[in-house]
């Protein structure tokens, strides 16, 4: 299990490659990457990510531990950046390794749902018309009821 919170960019391909080097019990690996979007309809020039040092790492570890227990994961990886990111940059990734596919998929989905609503990160988008804090969606909180 590896939990990383950092301002620096990380190499998504290299992290996927490293994570995929698992022992013989792993048959399924799922990874998710979140990327800063910018579209003509909703242009973003910069995304600022604030977090709560100390609590962030503890919250991510707790969520990851729960995923490991519930889905008997062989391994889990969470990397989340903070600071200023440009469109196209990778904000974060999670990866799960399990014996079988269903566990790897469900655990990754669970990690993302919990990370979104329980890990202390806040996103602010800068665009041509100013800056706005990204609002949490009601569906984010509701998503936790799935688990």
């Amino acid at each position: 299990m590896r939990i990383v919170v950092q301002a620096e960019p990380f190499d998504y391909g290299a992290e996927c490659a490293r994570f995929a080097e698992q022992d013989g019990g792993v048959g399924a690996i799922v990874s998710f990457a979140g990327v800063v979007r910018s579209t003509p309809e909703a242009p973003v020039t910069l995304m600022e990510i604030e977090h709560y040092p100390g609590m962030t790492e503890a919250a991510l570890s707790r969520i990851a531990e729960e995923a490991v227990q519930r889905w008997q994961l062989v391994d889990v990886l969470v990397i989340h950046r903070h600071g200023a990111l440009r469109p196209g940059e990778t904000i974060m990734m999670v990866a799960t390794a399990a014996a079988h596919r269903a566990a790897a998929f469900e655990a990754a989905d669970f990690l993302m749902d919990y990370l979104k609503s329980r890990a202390p990160f806040w996103k602010k988008e800068h665009g041509p018309e100013g800056e706005t804090w990204v609002a949490a969606k009601e569906t984010d909180e509701a998503a936790l009821d799935r688990w």
């Binding site: 979140g34 990510i49 604030e50 977090h51 709560y52 100390g54 609590m55 503890a58 919250a59 989340h80 904000i91 974060m92 993302m112 990370l115 979104k116 609503s117 329980r118 890990a119 202390p120 990160f121 806040w122 996103k123 602010k124 804090w133 990204v134 609002a135 949490a136 984010d140 909180e141």
Partner: protein
């Protein structure tokens, strides 16, 4: 009792600082909020809609009813938007 109070995202922006030490006799988080709101307008504005604010006590998410007994750090922030 001295408690570190920390603010994040738009709560931090409205209050105008990220962290301060507060000398308080508040028994619960809700009492602390009442004290802060009485201080100055910027606090009153920041805490106007408590349904939009989450609280952590010693870095654990909790509710406004949580006790401040023995607590070192209280954090206020909007719903999280990581991922």
């Amino acid at each position: 009792m001295k408690v570190d109070v920390v603010y994040f995202a738009w709560v931090r922006e409205r209050i105008g600082l990220p962290r301060e030490q507060v000398d308080t006799a508040a028994a619960t988080v809700a009492d602390l909020v009442t004290e802060l709101r009485a201080r100055e307008d910027r606090y009153d504005v920041a805490f106007a809609d408590l349904t939009a604010i989450r609280v952590a006590v010693d870095q654990e998410l909790t509710t406004f009813e949580a006790s401040l007994d023995g607590v070192r750090e209280v954090a206020f922030f909007p719903p999280m938007t990581g991922g």
